[in-house]
């Protein structure tokens, strides 16, 4: 009897710890992106990018300050802890598991995440959602979920995002001038 109670309490404590860990993960702006196992084989084109803090630092060391594109990239990633991208293009419509994409979208309902832009284009069957994780009036995470019948892209940028620096990327990577008003 005592053993059963002890076991129950241990399980409850473990659940608590796991829940705390999950909250911590949500709080730092990193989304749990599904594995999308086997999708790369089905896709006509796939881009899987996982840049954790150490890889970002390493990448930054190889950016040429004399190159304007590299210099802009270096500026843009200052304060960023991680960049995670999953992008797949298919030859057929809806060959990807929509539920997995929705699973990511659901995580953006957590406190702190704010939808910046929502695009629903019936004509092009294109959906784009841009979310920011705002904490103490600072953007600590960015998520982009873009889906079309034959492709979907999930971008998750973790860390302090300076929208002005993102703004300065205009013309470097095809990034437009975003009319984003900063909170003061």
């Amino acid at each position: 009897m005592i053993m059963r109670a002890l076991f129950k309490h241990t399980i409850l404590a473990l659940c608590g710890v796991l829940s705390l860990c999950a909250n911590a993960s949500a709080a730092d702006g990193q989304l749990k992106i599904p594995e999308f196992a086997g999708l790369a084989d089905k896709a006509a084109e796939s881009v899987i990018i996982t840049l954790d803090p150490s890889l970002l630092r390493l990448a930054a060391r190889f950016l040429d300050p004399a190159d304007p594109q590299d210099a802009a990239a270096r500026e843009a990633i200052a304060g960023i802890k991680g960049i995670y991208v999953r992008s797949y293009k298919f030859d057929a419509d809806f060959a990807y598991p929509k539920a997995d994409v929705d699973l990511v979208r659901k995580q953006l309902g957590a406190p702190g995440w704010q939808r910046l832009v929502e695009v629903r284009s019936r004509k092009e069957q294109q959906n784009v959602d841009i979310y920011l994780l705002v904490e103490q009036e600072k953007a600590n995470g960015l998520a982009i979920i873009a889906s079309q019948p034959r492709e979907f892209t999930i971008v998750n940028i973790v860390g302090s995002i300076d929208m002005r620096k993102l703004h300065e990327l205009e013309g470097q990577f095809g990034i437009p001038k975003l009319e984003i008003e900063e909170k003061k």
């Binding site: 990018i49 840049l51 990448a59 695009v119 629903r120 284009s121 004509k123 784009v128 892209t153 971008v155």
Partner: protein
């Protein structure tokens, strides 16, 4: 004459008992020579081992540097690709927002 010479020769070459401790001295000398050659071999082996360790360390460091450089270049490529993709998707949203703000009525797309 020749007999005298023979006798002289025999007298000169007659067996002589070695001094006391001669065999020990010979054995000690042999042991000393052996130990000296062993020390020489050990010294050469140590030098060869140190050189090999140094060579392996230099080669390892070079390989590590090469691998790190490859990883760095790959990470840089991924970073540029990630920023390009981010820019592309932001552009889609931007175009849609722009389209929406320039159209007075709803044309079936929304932002």
């Amino acid at each position: 004459m020749s007999k005298d010479f023979e006798q002289q020769l025999r007298d000169a070459l007659q067996p002589v008992d070695p001094e006391e401790g001669f065999d020990q001295r010979v054995m000690a000398r042999i042991a000393q020579e052996r130990s000296r050659s062993r020390t020489k071999i050990t010294r050469w082996a140590s030098v060869a081992l140190a050189a090999s360790v140094l060579f392996v360390a230099v080669l390892g460091a070079h390989q590590w540097q090469l691998r790190r450089e490859q990883e760095g270049l790959e990470a840089r490529k991924q970073l540029i690709e990630a920023l390009r993709l981010t820019g592309e998707k932001l552009d889609v949203a931007y175009q849609a927002v722009n389209r929406e703000s320039s159209l007075p009525a709803d044309d079936g797309s929304g932002a």
